[in-house]
């Protein structure tokens, strides 16, 4: 099982993703701001980060640069979960060298599929 960090400011989204992730036995951590997310990533070294682009202090793109810019965190896969228009998200994932995205609203199956792909697992 994996340790998954979700960085997202909206509690309803955190609650939903927590239910999905923990239903498969993963450990779930969350942060509600970019700086809290960065600090939690340093202290917990997750296996996967789920990242919202709209955060209240610095946005998700900027946070991904901070995460990727640290050697201890650079190899952690980052999946974007966002309500931004898909075309913009595609550009963002490519430009910021992220590992994938899901546009909100998304299904439980879609989230588990992308998590599994990012973790390199097949049947969690």
């Amino acid at each position: 099982m994996a340790k998954i960090l979700y960085i997202e400011d909206i509690q309803d989204n955190i609650t939903l993703v927590e239910k999905i992730v923990t239903s498969r036995g993963h450990e779930f951590l969350y942060a509600k701001s970019a700086e809290q997310g960065l600090e939690l990533a340093f202290s917990s070294t997750p296996d996967l980060i789920l990242l919202d682009l709209g955060l209240p202090d610095a946005d998700g793109q900027t946070l991904s640069v901070w995460l990727k810019g640290d050697p201890a965190l650079a190899n952690i896969p980052i999946i974007v979960l966002t309500a931004w228009p898909e075309e913009v998200v595609q550009h963002t994932v490519e430009a910021y060298n992220l590992n994938g995205y899901l546009c909100k609203p998304f299904s439980m199956q879609a989230l588990l599929k992308i998590i599994n792909e990012a973790l390199g697992t097949k049947a969690l």
């Binding site: 701001s33 209240p56 202090d57 793109q61 900027t62 640069v65 228009p85 430009a95 060298n97």
Partner: protein, 282 residues
């Protein structure tokens, strides 16, 4: 629905932030804030909370929020938003009337605002209130990546006062957030000037915002004084990004016909979204 309008100065920054975030929860481009960022926003962009407002229903339920910036003879409407469940109730229109009346009472000459392109309900509201489209701007991002192009030019880095001096000389229109008065309010404003061997000259100013753990670049304005804008702009941006190799960059409100636009794009900038600037004279 009866809408009660209350000056925003009667609310704490935390209350205003929570309301603002609720209005943006399903927004075309979600841009939540925390109370510190909203307080900076109010300071940097000269928001007049006396003439900004919170809308409430007759039963006291919050409906929305809007803010008015005030500078000399001009006003600027920003952060206008209505909670998703309260849209199409007249709350947005009522808040617009509150702010336009306030701006008129201050003797202001005109009011500007920017609306995200394709936000049709807001755009239509502004048209109904007498605003007309003036310009279109791009909001662009650049992720940090290695510089491979040759870097040239004699560069002088500008400190706060020097950067302000060159910005004040900018001959083109600048939107409210990038204006001299905005940058004057921020401690992290910098710039550079360049002279190329072929006589090309120009400058670039920007904010270098320091968070607790990292920094980012934003609010870029480029001006070519002499020579080819592509060449001068390219070398200005190359020198900037070579100095700040690991900084994320957010270039906000670049005019869609800016002569340096192709240079931005050549260096990896891509458009996040577009804004339409609108103006209403009194």
């Amino acid at each position: 629905m009866t809408t009660k309008l209350i000056p925003a100065e009667r609310f704490s920054m935390q209350e205003l932030t929570e309301l603002y975030n609720q209005t943006r929860v399903d927004y075309l481009v979600p841009m939540p804030m925390n109370a510190d960022r909203l307080a900076e926003y109010v300071h940097d962009f000269d928001i007049d909370l006396t003439h900004s407002c919170v809308a409430r229903a007759a039963d006291g339920q919050p409906l929305g929020l809007s803010m008015l910036g005030v500078r000399r003879e001009k006003a600027w409407i920003t952060r206008l938003g209505v909670l998703p469940a309260s849209r199409r109730t007249g709350a947005g229109s009522a808040m617009m009337d509150f702010m336009l009346t306030g701006a008129a009472s201050l003797g202001l000459r005109e009011t500007d605002l920017e609306v995200i392109k394709n936000n049709t309900p807001a755009h239509n509201l502004f048209l109904r209130k007498g605003f007309v489209e003036t310009r279109e701007y791009l909001v662009m991002r650049r992720a940090p990546h290695p510089i491979t192009e040759p870097i040239q030019g004699n560069v002088a880095w500008l400190k706060f006062d020097e950067a302000l001096d060159v910005l004040q000389s900018y001959p083109e229109h600048i939107t409210w957030i990038n204006a001299y008065e905005s940058m004057r309010n921020t401690p992290d404003f910098e710039g550079l000037k360049i002279e190329l061997r072929n006589g090309g000259t120009g400058w670039l100013v920007y904010r270098n915002t320091k968070y607790t753990l990292r920094s980012t670049l934003s609010h870029l304005i480029i001006h070519t004084e002499n020579g080819d804008p592509n060449e001068v702009g390219m070398q200005l941006l190359l020198n900037l990004h070579n100095r700040y190799l690991h900084h994320d960059t957010y270039a906000e409100n670049i005019h869609k016909n800016d002569p340096h636009l192709s240079t931005f794009q050549a260096l990896g900038y891509f458009t996040n979204f577009s804004r339409i600037e609108m103006r209403r004279p009194f």
